[in-house]
């Protein structure tokens, strides 16, 4: 067996936005660094690097996580979704469209994470109430919109019950 102390480079196999990815990464690389630097998927942002702001949120096996607090190595065999995988063939999802229509985006720094957490909620529960919506996005700081438009955007999709 390989000396465990020599396992400093990890051979990763995972799926990102539905596509298989295979890469060797340093063991200390975070999932956020991996997505942004190796895969050039820069939709997830680094705000705080410590789990406070939610700008780095991606879905790991369908659940929102802070990619700044997950090692890329921990995502081996996982299914990762980032904001880049949401629109298909140039068509935005109903939720993304609703964010635009409700003025729920200003600078956009929080948006990728907000959309993914809201999307995960809607996939788990197509008709969430306002409280559930607020709780689902409570791990995302937005310095621009004041949150009301974001909640309304999500509510508008929740109401349609798609």
């Amino acid at each position: 067996m390989l000396n465990p102390l020599e396992q400093t480079i990890i051979s990763l196999q995972l799926r990102v936005n539905g596509l298989p990815v295979q890469e060797d990464v340093p063991a200390q690389m975070t999932l956020l660094e991996f997505l942004r630097q190796r895969l050039r998927l820069t939709g997830a942002k680094e705000g705080c690097g410590s789990g406070e702001c939610g700008a780095c949120t991606v879905l790991l096996d369908g659940r929102p996580v802070n990619a700044c607090l997950v090692l890329a190595a921990e995502a081996n065999d996982a299914e990762i979704r980032t904001i880049e995988g949401e629109a298909r063939d140039g068509r935005l999802t109903p939720l993304q469209q609703a964010f635009i229509e409700h003025g729920a985006i200003q600078c956009g720094f929080c948006t990728s994470g907000m959309v993914l957490s809201a999307q995960a909620l809607l996939e788990r529960n197509p008709h969430p109430g306002r409280e559930e919506i607020v709780e689902a996005i409570a791990g995302h700081l937005c310095r621009c919109t004041g949150y009301v438009q974001i909640v309304e955007a999500i509510e508008s999709v929740a109401g349609k019950g798609s």
């Binding site: 465990p4 396992q7 690389m29 690097g49 789990g51 996580v65 090692l71 957490s117 791990g139």
Partner: protein, 288 residues
């Protein structure tokens, strides 16, 4: 940036315990405490042993005697999403619900919350008042310790290198027991507790337990409260005696979250609120 290290993910408990013999190895559960520390402190492990591949640590079950067995790797969201638990151990799931954000709760584990040994760990107060036992494993075998024996000081646990918490065993407190959890934060959203508190009151067995977090270097289980309760069940008298006891037992400090004086005020308010909740709150315990 995290300093270079090695990473491995064993598939069995035996393998993990072997790996943890290596000098400067550390267990990794959800990483929500550890990764922040690796980024911000001078902790420099040589090897991270990821515990998430060990099936023994994933168990979540009500036992035949209606107790609860929680594998160390069970996440906060798994606790909350189990409907059976929410009705049987509401103070525990209430506490889990207040841990961080949805993203944090998807990763944060029960074992990690306890092993980090923060004085304000939110699962500590409910688990203290429930007489929780921890199953600790090492290459030498297994031992059981009461949860209060895990805290050495603020963010220091009593585990020896090479030891792991495998399971958290919560005995069934009986159908008459009532329980509640309260948490004070700086904001209405998400924050570590500046004070948290859980209480358990069982009029049938004459048990009264109060645990206060964030007001000493460990969570504090108030001593001798069963006796106080058995001596006087008059609500006003009991409240006054518990307030005096709490006041004399806690040793809060000033820090970024609150002043010691504010913490004392909150403890007094919470204690009175908790006792009211325990006297009237009938949801949960009785229904299971």
């Amino acid at each position: 940036m995290i300093a270079p290290l090695a990473y491995t993910k064993p598939r069995s408990l035996a393998e993990a315990l072997e790996l943890l013999q290596i000098a400067h190895s550390l267990p990794l559960a959800g990483g929500t405490d550890l990764l922040v520390e690796l980024k911000k402190s001078n902790k420099r492990p040589a090897l991270l042993v990821d515990l998430k591949g060990i099936p023994d640590l994933d168990e979540l079950a009500l036992t035949a005697d209606r107790g609860l067995r929680i594998g160390a790797n069970v996440t906060m969201n798994r606790l909350i999403e189990s409907g059976e638990l929410v009705s049987a151990f509401p103070a525990l799931t209430d506490a889990a619900m207040t841990v961080g954000t949805d993203q944090i709760r998807n990763r944060a584990t029960v074992g990690g919350n306890l092993c980090h040994a923060s004085p304000s760990a939110d699962l500590a107060p409910p688990l203290f008042v429930l007489d929780t036992q921890l199953v600790v494993a090492s290459l030498q075998g297994e031992r059981r310790i009461p949860i209060s024996a895990l805290w050495q000081g603020a963010k220091q646990n009593t585990l020896q290198p090479g030891e792991l918490i495998v399971q958290i065993e919560v005995p069934w407190p009986g159908a008459a027991a009532k329980m509640a959890f309260l948490k004070k934060m700086r904001t209405a959203g998400h924050d570590l507790a500046l004070v948290n508190m859980a209480g358990l009151l069982d009029p049938v067995q004459g048990r009264c337990r109060i645990c206060i977090g964030g007001c000493a270097c460990t969570p504090v289980l108030l001593p001798g409260t069963d006796t106080l309760y058995q001596e006087s069940r008059d609500p006003d008298q009991l409240t006054a005696r518990l307030l005096a006891l709490a006041e004399a037992t806690i040793v809060p400090i000033d820090d970024v979250r609150a002043s010691a004086r504010y913490r004392r005020e909150i403890v007094a308010v919470f204690l009175q609120r908790l006792l009211k909740l325990l006297a009237v709150e009938t949801k949960g315990w009785g229904r299971c």
